[in-house]
Each structure stands twice: as C-alpha cells, then as structure tokens.
C-alpha cells in the first residue's frame, strides 16, 4: 500500500524526493566544501615542510589571519634558538579568484628555500624583480595562465614561474612587495620554523614560547589536527545554521506533502478505520510513506552530491570537496528525522479522524 500510495501522485512524490535530496545534498556539499577547503589548505601548510609555525598574539590559526602582523626581525631571534635550522617570514595577502578565496604568500626567497627545500619549477624560475609572481600548476591550469603573462593581483605582476603545487599557497610574490601593498613594512603574518630534526619540535616550541610568551605557537602536526578535526568553532555556527535551513526545507516539504495526502485520502483513512485499523496502524502507514519518500530522497541526494562534487572539482580545480561517509550518514539521519517529524502531525491528525466523518468525506 505504501508504494502504491507514493506512486499514485507522481509529481508530489517527485517534489518531496527532490526536497529531501536537496536537503541531503546541501548538508553534504556545504560540509564537504568547508572541510575540503580546510583540508586542502592544511595539506599545503604541511607541504611547506616546516616543523613549527608562529603567529601574532590572538591570531586565528585558521588561515593565520590577523590585523597585527609581527616584526620580521623576530626571525633573527628565532633563528638563534637551539635546534632551529631555518626560519622564514611570510606575509599574507588575501585575494579571491571567481569567488574562491586565496591567500597570496609574500615570501623571502632565500629563507623560504632553506625551510621548504625550494620550489619545483615546472616552467620558468624564481623572482627576478619586485613585480614577479609565481603561480602553482593547479591555479595556472584552472585560470589558463601562461609563463610571462601579466596577472593582476591588486596590481600587475609578471608570471615568471609555474611551480608544483603543495607548498603553502598557490600564488607567491616577493615579501617586500607584499609589505608595500599591505603598508606593513618589515612585518610578517607568520614564521615557519624548520628544526634541525623534527624530534626537537617540542623543545623548539618551548623555547619560542619563552621568547614570545603571548604568541600563537603551534607544531605543524598540532595545526593539522586542529584544522582537520572537523570541529572548528568558527565554522560550527555557520555549518549548523546551513544544516538547520536544510532540515527545515525537508521538514516543511514533507509536512506539506503528507498534510495534503491526509486531506486527499480522508475517505481512505475512514476505510482503514472501518476495517479495524488502530490509531497506531494509521500513524505507521503515514510515517512509513514519509520514510519511503525520504529514503529515496536520501539516495538521490547522495548520488546527486557525488555527481555535483565531481562537476565542481572538474570545473574549479582549486576547490576541494571532501565528501565523507560520516557526513553522508549524518545528512541521511537528519533528513530522516526531519521527514518523520514533518509527517508526525499529519499522521496524528489522520489517526484522530472520526471514522464516520472520514467515510462520508467527498
């Protein structure tokens, strides 16, 4: 009966399934894109090859954004600490391409090379002048950038090198240029520190904390754990709000769908009651119908999300979408809970219908 009822009104069924699919897709894509962005950023930070990162007091470790960069000269004092092999300052310049945020790295090439081991140049070579820019291969492919062309990042730069991706950012400009653009002379947003051996990381962190008591000092491993823990406080509210909107959509559509179903099938409910169907039986029939709609919607949503993620990644290679089975399950559970909640009142109302009135319903 459940399947026949669902098939009886194909348009309503399709709309309900679509709403649940959108709900599931919205949850999975928002979370997937958020975590994809973070994970991809975290991997690039790890790819720098440093062991410790130092940021200004109260800076958010997320993208290291701070309105109060640190004096570059701190790098010299850090370099003197025991077990420190190299220190490189980086000044961040936020930029966006096609709505996708990018942190441009202003780097000091000699110290950067000491910490990171240097870029792998796929084309061209290092900076030759203040208005040169290096672009990673993914950004270059995505934006059809060729060696030697001009690229405007708030000002015109000449692309002098295309480097292998995976080291901190996708765009690199000379540190001094970045400082000029930001009006932050002799300042840096972050210091990456390379130890003589990764085993000295804790020791170096302790020394840095002694030297710079209020600064944010993290090992790269700690940073990776924080960013990829799927539990970023700054993003929790954002994700929760979007999930709430998605669940509301599913709830309301299923509520409306089941409510109209009940109204339309008042007489049929009367028939079931005349056959001796209990209130629990009627409620169960309605809830099972809602659950069937929801389950089909969940499958459609998951398949649609996987397809959408592939389309997004092939159209925008700089955007990562990390779809995880855990969030697939969470989205499915949320959709199911929302649908059952949405169906409960119509089901309860159906169960309470007077059988004589229901049988007389035209």
């Amino acid at each position: 009966m459940i399947v026949e009822n669902v098939l009886h009104r194909p348009i309503r069924t399709l709309v309900s399934i679509l709403a649940v699919a959108i709900e599931v897709g919205m949850v999975m894509l928002v979370v997937g894109m958020t975590h994809g962005l973070l994970n991809e950023y975290a991997k690039r930070v790890e790819g720098v090859g440093a062991d410790v990162m130092i940021q200004p007091p109260n800076a958010s470790f997320f993208f290291g954004l701070s309105s109060a960069p640190m004096p570059v000269k701190i790098a010299d004092r850090l370099a003197e600490l025991p077990h420190v092999l190299a220190v490189t300052p980086v000044l961040f310049q936020s930029y966006s391409t096609g709505g996708v945020p990018i942190i441009v790295y202003g780097i000091d090439m000699p110290s950067w090379n000491r910490v990171t081991g240097g870029f792998v140049y796929l084309q061209g070579g290092p900076f030759r002048g203040p208005n040169d820019i290096l672009v990673d291969d993914i950004y270059a492919r995505d934006n059809h950038i060729r060696l030697g062309q001009t690229l405007n990042v708030y000002q015109d730069f000449q692309v002098v090198g295309i480097v292998e991706h995976g080291k901190g950012s996708r765009l690199f400009i000379p540190l001094a240029t970045a400082q000029d653009m930001a009006g932050a002379h002799d300042k840096a947003s972050i210091f990456y520190v390379k130890c003589v051996d990764p085993a000295y990381t804790d020791s170096v962190i302790a020394s840095v904390r002694q030297l710079l008591p209020n600064y944010t000092v993290l090992s790269i491993k700690q940073f990776m754990t924080l960013v990829t823990s799927n539990d970023l406080p700054a993003l929790t509210a954002f994700i929760t709000a979007l999930i709430a909107v998605a669940v509301c959509i599913g709830f309301l559509v299923i509520f409306l769908s089941m409510y109209t179903t009940i109204t339309e099938r008042t007489r049929e409910i009367g028939i079931l009651k005349s056959l001796g169907a209990s209130k629990a039986y009627i409620i169960q029939v309605i809830l099972r119908e809602a659950a069937l709609l929801c389950l089909v919607g969940i499958v459609a949503g998951i398949v649609g999300t996987i397809v959408a993620a592939r389309v997004i990644q092939s159209s925008f290679p700089t955007i990562s979408v990390d779809l995880t089975p855990l969030w697939g399950l969470r989205a499915a559970a949320l959709a199911l809970a929302g649908a059952l909640l949405g169906a409960f009142y119509p089901a309860f109302r159906a169960a309470r219908l007077d059988p004589v009135d229901a049988l007389a319903y035209e």
Partner: protein
C-alpha cells in the same frame, strides 16, 4: 440462546454546530446469530447511524448495546476498534475500495490489519465463491460496480467476522448486479450462517432477508 446483537433504548445525538440532531431516539433491536436482517426506512431515519454504532464506528449517546457479549457503552474507542477488527465486516454502498490497490491487495489488507497473517486457503475459497478469482490483479477503476462490490464483500468476510454489516450494498448497482450481490449475501448466510444486518431502500433487496426491521424518525416501527 444469547442474541448476537441486543440494543435497549439506544439513543444517539449528534451536534451540528449548536443544533442537536436526534438520530436514534430509543432503538430496541435483537438479532440472533445466523440471522439475515434487513433494516428499511426513509432517508434520515437513523439506519446508517444504527449500523455505525453496531459496527463500533461511533459510540452511542445512551442506552445499551451488546454485541457478541460486549457492552459498547463500557468500551473505549480503542477497544471498539479492536472488536471491529476481529468481529465486524462492513460492506458499503460506494464499495469503498482503496483506489491505489489491486483487488487482491484490497482483500489482503483486511487480513493484514487483523494481524493473523495471510490465509491462502480462505483467500482462494472466498474469491472463488464470489467469482472474482480472475480479477484479482485489477485495480478498482478497472472493475465494474458489481465486481467492485464483490471485492468489497470478499474483504468484509475474509477474516470470518461474526457480523456482516451492509450499508445499501446494492444502492449503486443495476438490477442484474444487485441480484448477484444479494444472492451472494443470501449464500453466505445460508451456507456459513453468516449473521448479516443490511440497510436498504430497495424492497426487493429487503425481501431476501429472514426478517425486515422498519425504522422511522430514529425508532423501530415494525419488524
């Protein structure tokens, strides 16, 4: 022998807005097990209300209703529903089949609701007897009125109810199909001693019953 149905001074008052409608004004009725009783009377005389009360679809306002030894006045809505599930079969004028289900599923849903599982022997016997065995895969819209009513009768008796309550079962049928349906009800009563209470306007339909009860203005005026 204890009667299967016994009502005493049965009254039912509906409220339509602020207006009280006295549908039954003191009905005394006794039906023995195995009897085929026709209830006749003009529209609005309370026939359907009596049927609904005896089927446990609606509670009486006052009086006494004993059906198979169960006092409906003392039973809750859930208890009357449970009673109806196991002891009552309904046949309606408008057939009242579920439009999305095939004839087979319309019959089986009664067994499903009763919860005793599918009884293939009973199913085959009932559908053969009613001449619908070759129409079980059709949905109601693909059945004639007579066929739909036979499916409805099959659904009503599939769980072997104590009482079959038929509300104008031939009201929507032509004379040929009416006769077929009435013959079937008569056969059910004669062959299986099925107790039947049938409401009808049609004197020919009423004539197949063992006894005719006449109602007017919410009372029984002749039997």
């Amino acid at each position: 022998m204890e009667p299967l149905i016994a009502t005493q001074d049965l009254k039912k008052v509906y409220r339509v807005g602020k207006v009280e409608v006295h549908a039954l004004r003191g009905v005394d009725l006794v039906v023995q097990e195995g009897e085929f009783v026709a209830v006749v009377g003009p529209s609005g005389c309370g026939k359907s209300t009596l049927l609904h009360i005896l089927g446990g679809l609606t509670p009486p306002t006052s009086g006494r209703v004993l059906v198979d030894g169960n006092d409906f006045m003392a039973m809750s809505d859930a208890e009357r529903t449970r009673f109806r599930r196991h002891k009552i079969g309904f046949v309606f004028q408008r057939y009242n089949l579920l439009p999305t289900l095939t004839a087979r599923d319309n019959i089986r849903i009664a067994q499903h609701i009763q919860g005793n599982g599918f009884n293939p022997h009973r199913f085959a016997m009932v559908t053969e007897m009613l001449g619908i065995a070759d129409k079980l895969n059709r949905k109601p819209y693909a059945l004639s009125g007579g066929e739909q009513q036979r499916v409805a009768i099959a659904r009503a008796i599939i769980c072997e109810p104590k009482i079959l309550l038929a509300d104008e079962p031939t009201g929507n049928l032509d004379s040929e199909n009416s006769q077929i349906v009435l013959n079937m009800l008569r056969t059910l009563n004669r062959t299986f001693r099925q107790t039947i209470l049938m409401i009808t306007h049609n004197p020919e339909a009423a004539a197949v019953a063992d006894r005719i009860v006449r109602m007017r203005d919410g009372r029984i005026v002749g039997s």
